[in-house]
């Protein structure tokens, strides 16, 4: 088991290196940093001095090593646009994105898994069919349209919920949370729903397909033939076997939710990392863009690692093979 984890960790290191390389390449290929940092009035000598001071004349590989080393030490550099340290900027935005992503994921799971089970067990029911059609519509409409529709309905027409922004936050250390006030929740509902809706439909359809397949397997038929109570057949035998492939996808989804939150954050002006990324693109703020890339990749890697560990926990076939 330790070997397995170690193997995964080594693989993760390679993934992170590859992403870091891509992120670093941004500097070399998307314009010249010096010309972006300085104005027209900076003299050529000053520009050359700055180039030398920042180590931009060093060979590519040396610069890359320095970049990676700085990253590892938590030194993410400074934004061209705001002149602030990027680490602090991202840390400031991180809670907003994580809270939004988690709420969206939870919405998609609490609604998606039971809906998937229900539609799998009653495939021909009227309710199942209408749920399937509704989710088909959900998948087909782009996220930003859903967001705008929700804003129009609940924010403008009914006036129940705020249309944008993040309010009612409480500071716990450096973590600014909106989970502890009614106001905070009110501003979280619409973006969370918008972001979670697509994941919800995906989860539901996946659980449904998987569960229907599991219900046809021999071991379920054998359990039925042994007269095991239906409740146990469905929720103990079938559901656990259903969840094995579903967990991988949910793990990847969570990474996706954080990465895709860019669109939702922009529609709702949600002050998260995604919005920061969009602003950085507008100002060609390359350091922020590349760090954002690395951070998102890091999330993906960590989540995948957790999913693998979860697998070990659920599936005995993956644990160390004991002699039997």
């Amino acid at each position: 088991m330790a070997v397995f984890i170690l193997k995964r960790l080594i693989q993760s290191v390679f993934v992170m290196l590859a992403v870091a390389f891509l992120a670093f390449s941004l500097f070399s290929f998307v314009g010249d940093p010096i010309s972006q940092m300085t104005g027209v009035e900076t003299s050529l000598e000053d520009q050359a001095r700055l180039r030398e001071e920042l180590g931009l004349n060093d060979p590519f590989i040396v610069q890359f090593a320095r970049f990676t080393g700085d990253m590892l030490q938590g030194n993410f550099g400074y934004s061209y646009r705001t002149r602030e340290p990027i680490g602090a900027m991202l840390l400031d935005r991180l809670p907003a994105t994580l809270e939004l992503g988690t709420v969206a994921l939870i919405i998609s799971l609490i609604a998606g898994i039971p809906a998937g089970i229900y539609t799998a067990l009653n495939p021909r029911g009227v309710l199942s069919q209408s749920m399937l059609i509704a989710t088909l519509i959900g998948v087909s409409i782009p996220t930003f349209v859903i967001g705008i529709l929700l804003i129009f309905l609940f924010g403008v027409q009914l006036g129940w919920l705020p249309t944008f922004g993040r309010s009612g936050t409480v500071e716990i250390g450096w973590w600014r949370s909106s989970l502890f006030t009614v106001d905070g929740w009110r501003s979280l509902v619409l973006p969370g729903l918008t972001l979670g809706l697509f994941q919800l439909t995906l989860t539901m359809r996946l659980v449904r397909a998987q569960m229907m397949e599991v219900m046809r397997t021999d071991h379920i038929r054998f359990a039925i033939a042994r007269g095991i109570p239906w409740r146990s057949i469905r929720y103990r035998h079938a559901l656990s076997n259903t969840m094995i492939p579903v967990i991988t996808v949910i793990g990847l989804q969570f990474g996706g939710v954080i990465a895709f939150s860019i669109v939702t954050e922009s529609v709702f002006q949600w002050p998260g990392m995604g919005l920061l990324f969009l602003e950085s693109i507008r100002f060609v703020d390359i350091p922020v863009m590349s760090v954002y890339l690395v951070v998102i990749a890091f999330f993906f890697v960590v989540i995948n690692l957790l999913v693998d560990l979860l697998y070990l926990l659920i599936d005995p076939r993956l644990r160390v093979r004991e002699a039997a």
């Binding site: 330790a2 071991h219 038929r221 033939a225 042994r226 007269g227 659920i314």
Partner: protein, 567 residues
Amino acid sequence: MLTVEDLTVRFHHRSGAATAVEGVSLTVGQGEIHGLVGESGAGKSTIGASIMGLLPAAGEIASGRLMLGETDLRALTASEAHQIRGKRISMIFQDPQTSLNPLMTIGDQLIETIQAHEEISTDAARARAIALLEEIGITDATRRIRAYPHQFSGGMRQRVVIALALCTNPELIVADEPTTALDVSVQAQVLKLLRSLARDRGVGFILITHDIGVIAQVADRVTVLRGGRIVEQGETRQVLTAPEAPYTQALMAAVPPLDHRLDRFHLPVVVGEETETAGAEAAREAEDWLREGIGSAAGPELELSGITVRFHGERQGFFGARESFTALDDVSLTVRPGTVMGLVGESGSGKSTLAKVVAALVQPSSGEMRLGGAQLPFMRTRHRHHPSRRLLQMVFQDPFSSLNARHRIATILGEPLWLYGLETDRTRRDRLVRSMLALVGLPPEAADRYPHQFSGGQRQRIAVARALLSRPGLLICDEPTSALDVSIQAQILNLLKDMQSRFGLTTLFISHDLAVVRQMSDDIAVLQGGKLVETGPSEPFFTRPAAGYSQDLLANTPRVRFDRSVA
């Protein structure tokens, strides 16, 4: 105990209703094993499912009575029927690999089953489960009850399945092909277990099987089914020694005998029914074409010496060496020109690996191969245009997955012709393909259809045709009939035998069925755990096997001849 009277089951499809079982009556007494035997489509499993109340949604019991003791099974509500399942009737499935929940320990599965039907504490249920596992032949049950299904071998897993079916003390167990997925020696053990359970515990069994040999070994009474109707029913001794119905006779005759060799396999053709249409005229062209290419000489000799194959296992520890698994250990054998070498052994013995080595699908770690005197390179060094690629052809086990489902038969069969540059003219290719279809006993029009439009036996004929169309010298048949019914098996084996002798093909014939191998082969080689145990001419082997393992293999093979000594 169980009485089935005049059972008729219909399946409703979009195109209408089809009758799967019609007017079947049978009884099973306490401690009795009642065998249901027949070919696929005979309705055996449908009868089992009707008794269990587990017919698929499209199926419906149209008429008849199903009585278990005093209980009318048809009058039960859905929840009452579910109560009776496990409690009074249970079931054993075919494949022990898939019939256990992989995520629960066998102990949890046993305890849950016991508690589903009885008010009993978990400890008491566990104690009973352990006692039952020991009774069924799983040693050290106290420890192994905590193991997961994947930690047991196939035979042991089937014992666990039997324990699960038995742990609630049911009156009747429906066993649907309980030994089909098992090796002969394991099959013999499992059948013995069923026999003793019937005798000692008084459990009634319905034993569903396609294998008359299994019936002969354990069943007290037998019902022969065909197309959903009873053909013959009675005491096993009576039915198997003096079968009355022509179909029973034909079915028994179609099972290849283990104790002597026949020139041809008997087809289960009931006298007076339709016989095969011969398309000799249409086949002439393909036959001439093959003769012209292959010549009259016998096929090349295949010599294997010191073939060793190792597969790498999982790493033991991060820096530890990989544990390797030796699939073939120093195997040397010679297939004489134009003869058939039968390769036998249990699953995991390395039979198929050997075939793959010859076909360049697996890379051996050492050894040498020669084909017709010339060096035959291994997988990594045998380039795509090596002449042996054409000379050496394979017929695979599963005719459902060995033909490309999206190609017409004409395309599939035309491929070897242009691939090996045998025939450049398109119309001539098409004519040859159609003629070859006639040669293997299919209508030439079959060329315009797709694989799914054919039955398993027909597809296997197509596979043979494909092999022949490359003008082969060496044919490798890997379990070519084990997915087929006996009657179809006989046809395909006859076809292979015909083609082999007519064109002098050197053949490596792999099978787990010793009776089939006896009929097919001139020489025989026995593999066990990757080692060659015995090799030599076939007939002396069957009369006097030298190695102890070969004797066991022969002794465990079920015979159709009525024989109660095994039980």
